[in-house]
């Protein structure tokens, strides 16, 4: 009994609730100033996107606010970034472009993540023919140049933002599935999973309750990287004329700028590029920071 008592004494008893690895990760992330700045940028863009969506700011974006191609001026918020060929506010268009960009990132991630996680998990956990099937499927898919696939999708589904969602969603899960498959392969023979088996846990419990929470950080890291790829791809598709129709996306703005630059109209191109630059950069920094703070391998035992 005296032995037991002393074991207790050495317990870290300073706080009643335990700290999970998530809380630990958050504490580490908070110390990274750059990551917090990136997080703030992402938050700020999301706020703009939401406000634009509900018409709280920058409405209507397609009203004529001045002469065609007027240069940026500070007399009016609408004219901060000048006007386009129809005399519409470039600043408003840029804000609305944020809405399109963020929604493309979010929706494609929502489509791609479940597919990638599920297929990767099944392949990595069961191995054997399940694995071979999944691997065959995604290697076949990824052997087609993705821009061709995207173009094919938009032709089949018609142009527009909906096609962009679907096209990006069903093509961008391959990388995630590969990562998840590898992690599941590593984890399925770990002792904590065997321990779960030995207490009678079935496959479902082992996959979703035990292994998944230990690899979910990969999904989060992947999310922040995929988000910016989706944003960039949307811009490229729209530039090629295959993307968003009748709405002010950054890609459409850059496409418009093709004809404008020769006339010295630089503001449309610059505002779309700069808007994109910050969010892509923020997601990149955030992805790296999340990897550093979430990856349990970097934590000492």
């Amino acid at each position: 009994m005296s032995e037991k008592a002393t074991v207790w004494e050495n317990h870290p008893a300073s706080h009643a609730e335990g700290k999970s690895l998530w809380q630990d990760a958050w504490i580490r992330l908070k110390k990274d100033k750059l990551a917090i700045a990136a997080l703030a940028i992402v938050f700020f863009y999301s706020l703009i996107a939401l406000s634009a969506k509900f018409g709280l700011i920058a409405t209507p974006w397609d009203a004529e606010v001045g002469k065609a191609y007027s240069a940026p001026s500070f007399e009016n918020t609408k004219l901060w970034l000048g006007t386009d060929i129809f005399g519409r506010s470039v600043f408003y268009k840029m804000l609305h472009g944020t809405r399109i960009a963020m929604s493309v990132g979010l929706v494609t991630a929502l489509i791609a993540i479940p597919i990638g996680v599920l297929l990767g998990a099944l392949a990595g956990y069961f191995g054997g023919w399940v694995d071979e099937l999944v691997v065959w499927f995604y290697t076949t898919l990824s052997s087609i140049p993705s821009i061709m696939l995207l173009i094919a999708f938009t032709y089949v589904l018609g142009k527009g933002i909906f096609s962009v969602y679907i096209a990006l969603g069903v093509t961008s899960w391959v990388g995630l599935a590969r990562l998840i498959r590898g992690e599941f392969m590593k984890h399925r023979s770990r002792e904590y999973v065997i321990a779960a088996e030995s207490i009678g846990a079935g496959h479902c419990i082992r996959i979703f309750r035990h292994i998944f929470p230990n690899v979910v950080h990969i999904v989060i890291i992947n999310l922040s990287l995929q988000f910016q790829i989706a944003i960039k791809t949307e811009v490229i598709l729209s530039y090629l004329g295959l993307g968003v129709q009748g709405q002010p996306s950054w890609g459409v703005m850059i496409d418009d700028a093709k004809q404008e630059l020769a006339r010295g109209v630089w503001w449309q191109l610059s505002s779309a590029t700069v808007a994109m630059l910050f969010i892509v950069l923020a997601f990149n920094i955030l992805g790296d920071a999340l990897r550093d703070s979430l990856d349990p391998k970097l934590k000492k035992g």
Binding site: E3, K4, V7, W8, H11, P12, A13, A16, E17, G18, K19, S20, L21, D24, R190, E191, Y192, I194, A195, A196, E197, S198, I199, G200, A201, G202, I205, H210, P213, N214, P296, K299, G301
Partner: protein, 332 residues
């Protein structure tokens, strides 16, 4: 002794586990490794069978085959008279309540994302035990294993190695098992913590009449906890007897060499040390005849032809797989 009216709980008969080795472009099976090669023994209720051997001898695989955490290639494992190897998946899962395992690495065997309470409560939930009084049960288990109830809301990484091993023991005990495979349970722990865990395990054995299969490479620890000891070499049991007989009167030259190789904390005491030459051969291509003959100090011609049977030498209940068991082995 106890063997007169023995009450076997676990009976292992001719157990074999071979892993295929794939090669070539078509990944065909080109060879196989017999990790466990035709092993038979019984463990009686309330007893501890120690299983010793060097790394790669198949002792961990054997432990996992008995629980069917690895499917054995052939042979039978009977648990309380029931043939475990023939059970369908559903019934096997129900049987898991009665047999548990504790692993070597308490860092790897606890899910880092679950609280200690969830970890210990999970087996209760899976088997539908202690409904409505689970948290009392978890507290009781923590207390039994020398941990405070507050541990429930904490995560494994907040504990030291010894405390984590206590959590693993509590999880194994949760479903009131009869049999626990202990796979090197103290090897990863510091010396002063080892003895705490060993004491705990022996107290629990007495309190709950547990049966242990205690796997370890540490002969000192095995001697301390076991009633019977089996010595494995390259997937085969080469000697099996009561702990006392193995340690005071070893028959097989390999057992003798193992025992003489343990450094003992008695400076100045001169011992006859048998230094074996060479390494353990690869289990992919075990030597012809007796697997031990290339390293054996008393090897003779006929050792190269057939593997010696595991038979009694001199004493009852003391078996060794050696044609020249009991012959003196000259140390240096």
């Amino acid at each position: 002794m106890t063997t007169v009216n023995a009450n076997p709980l676990v009976e292992v008969e001719n157990l074999v586990k071979s892993f295929p080795i794939k090669g070539g472009i078509l990944s065909r099976t080109v060879a196989s490794v017999k990790a466990v090669a035709d092993v038979s023994f019984t463990v009686n209720r309330g007893e501890t069978l120690g299983l010793v051997g060097e790394s790669g001898c198949g002792k961990s695989t054997l432990g996992r085959c008995i629980l069917r955490l690895i499917e054995p290639t052939s042979g039978k494992v009977k648990f309380g008279g029931v043939d475990v190897t023939a059970l369908p998946a559903g019934e096997l899962r129900r049987l898991r309540r009665r047999m548990q395992i504790i692993f070597q690495d308490p860092y790897a065997s606890l899910n880092p994302r679950m609280t200690v309470g969830d970890i210990i409560g999970e087996p209760l939930e899976i088997h539908g035990l202690y409904k409505g009084e689970r948290s009392q049960r978890i507290r009781k288990l923590l207390d039994l294993c020398g941990l405070r109830a507050e541990a429930m809301n904490r995560y494994p990484h907040e504990f030291s190695g010894g405390q984590r091993q206590r959590i693993c023991i509590a999880r194994a005990l949760a479903v009131e098992p009869e049999f626990i495979v202990c796979d090197e349970p103290v090897s990863a722990l510091d010396v002063s913590i080892q003895s705490q865990i060993l004491n705990l395990m022996m107290d629990l054995q007495e309190e709950f009449k547990l049966t242990y299969l205690f796997i370890s490479h540490d002969l000192k620890v095995v001697e301390h906890v076991s009633n019977k000891v089996a010595v494995m070499y390259l997937g085969k049991i080469v000697e099996l007897a009561s702990s006392e007989k193995i340690y005071t009167n070893p028959q097989h030259p390999y057992t003798k060499a193992l025992l003489s190789a343990i450094p003992l904390p008695n400076p100045g005491v001169k011992r006859d040390r048998i230094i074996l030459q060479g390494d353990v051969p690869s289990p992919i291509n075990p030597p012809q005849g007796c697997y031990f003959h290339p390293r054996c100090p008393i090897m003779r011609e006929n050792c190269k032809s057939a593997f010696p049977p595991l038979v009694e030498h001199g004493e009852l209940q003391h078996v060794a797989a050696c044609y020249y068991a009991g012959e003196p082995v000259v140390g240096r």
